[in-house]
């Protein structure tokens, strides 16, 4: 039994361990939140193990579970207004050189992007993260979400429109000379 389970782990999880962790971290960006979301995802995978094994595309399903847990954590955080806190900033901002200011603005832009993703509905958020961020093809997302490919395309299109609204005033890139006035 152990051999069989080892083989199952090697087949299903081992090849995508890095992708699973990255998928969660990219969305959570907080060590505690990421660990909680990852644990939540592993628990779900454990509970659904018997359904994941025979799935036509188990790895897309596993990644979907990870992304779902991470997006849920992000949505909760955004709803509670705990977003854009100090954790999103580089630690040392005393240096007012261009690169430091650029780093701060970059962090703010990233935070704004994540906040916008956190404001998407569950379906839209999962679809956009799977397709745009994890680069999973529509067909595989549809198999993981157990829906038609056209539905996934619709979620992505709606998410894009919503994101365009939410990010209509993104923070402009900081040019080098701007940094010296900071």
């Amino acid at each position: 039994m152990i051999d069989e389970q080892q083989r199952e782990y090697e087949r299903l999880i081992a090849p995508i361990e890095g992708r699973m962790m990255r998928a969660v971290w990219r969305v959570c960006r907080d060590p505690g939140d990421a660990e909680d979301a990852f644990q939540e995802a592993l628990l779900t995978i454990w509970k659904r193990w018997d359904r994941i094994r025979p799935h036509p595309n188990p790895q897309a399903l596993i990644l979907h579970i990870c992304i779902h847990a991470a997006h849920d954590a992000l949505r909760r955080k955004v709803r509670r207004g705990k977003w854009l806190d100090a954790a999103a900033m580089p630690e040392d901002i005393a240096d007012s050189s261009a690169s430091a200011v650029q780093a701060v603005c970059g962090a703010e832009r990233n935070a704004e992007v994540l906040r916008a993703i956190g404001l998407l509905s569950k379906n839209q958020g999962r679809a956009i993260l799977m397709h745009w961020v994890e680069e999973i093809p529509y067909g595989e997302i549809a198999a993981a979400l157990d829906c038609r490919e056209a539905t996934v395309r619709k979620h992505v299109a709606r998410a894009r429109a919503r994101l365009r609204d939410l990010l209509s005033h993104p923070i402009p890139p900081v040019r080098k000379e701007e940094g010296s006035h900071a």
Partner: protein, 432 residues
Amino acid sequence: MLDNDANDDVHDLIRRGTQVEIPAAVEDRLRRRLMEFRTRVEQRPPSRLRTLAYSLLHPPGVRVVAMTAALVAAVAAGLVLIPRESSASRVYAAAAAELRSAGSLAYTVVLVEAPYVAVDFSYLAPGYVRVRTSWGIEIRADRKSGKQIVLMHATRTYVAEEGKQVESMADAEEFLEQLRSLPRAADELLGERLAGAKKLIGYRLRKAPANTGIQGLTAFDLWVDAGTREVDHIDIAIQEEGKPVYQMHIRNIHVGAGVDRSLFDLTPPAGYAAMGKPGAAAPQSARALRAQIGQTGALTAVVVPMTGPYTQATAAVQKVEAYLKAQGVTPAGPPLGRFWDEGHWEAGYPAPPGTRAEAPFELVRLPAALAASVVVKGPWGTDSGGRWVAFLQSVVEQGYVPAGPAMEIWTGEEGGPAGQFTEMRMAVTKGR
């Protein structure tokens, strides 16, 4: 391939905003979680208690709600095996119909008979659900308002949550719903038997629904009271490949008016501290506290039954000590306490054979049993919240489940906390 307009500005912004490397420290933490997960995957396939164990062992952070809700839901999910389709009798049909239309329902699922491991479920329309385990964890949820409270009786802590966390009770409700949607006809008539003054008629359902994930259901026997036409109890038999037949029972079934509304009260009980707030102990690392599993000997003790805050423990012990002294009895060991919840606990001393006890004192006999135990250093009766959570995690990690109340045995010096020790002990049974 990505879609054609993937290169638009929004897409670019999203990609740039999310393409980050994982810090090494975070990757280490996540990789540790993966390693633990891998070990569990490789050790055994999922089963009811395995899922429970995993849930209990891996709480996300200190969020006990998620942990306890998940573990209870896992128990419930594992029990979702009631056949929906099958091929009758008027008595059976009446009992099934009553369950279907029940505005309230309560019952106990006995997972293991001896030692006793069970989960109590209660439902009250329109959406109150209560789940209580025999090892001291209770969840009360109001689905309509989206609120729930999780009570850790052994540690006198609670977490009140709303929104997302309450969704984790959905599996438990699914189980309730399945009990409320029994098929209209049974597969087989088992006959009649007497249970005390009651005449019971047995009906068997054989098929498990395809999507339950539970394999090996061989019998689901409902015993209906011929007089009241209510389900008296249900016996369930599961035969999984390579394993002995597993028997499980649903008892204490109350349909209709038999459910007490106060069971669903979402107000934290007096004396319970909110988890994660000042005054509430944070869970210790399970790694720092490993319970030893072993056989304990039988014990006889004189105790005083108590209700109310555990802070009365010292006074209770002193009361028993004074009583024994007045009887001329020397205690046979250090003082101890057994805790079910604040409505039911006791403290006292082991006593030599032949000792008698008069009210309010009681003589209790604890049989020899398989138990988990660990001795911790530190002041008596403090930080029990953290260490009991860690203790339970350690028990489940080793493949056991609680089968008795939390027990503490206090040794060391009364003078100061530096020389004080507490043995934490709990009867356990092997998980499936």
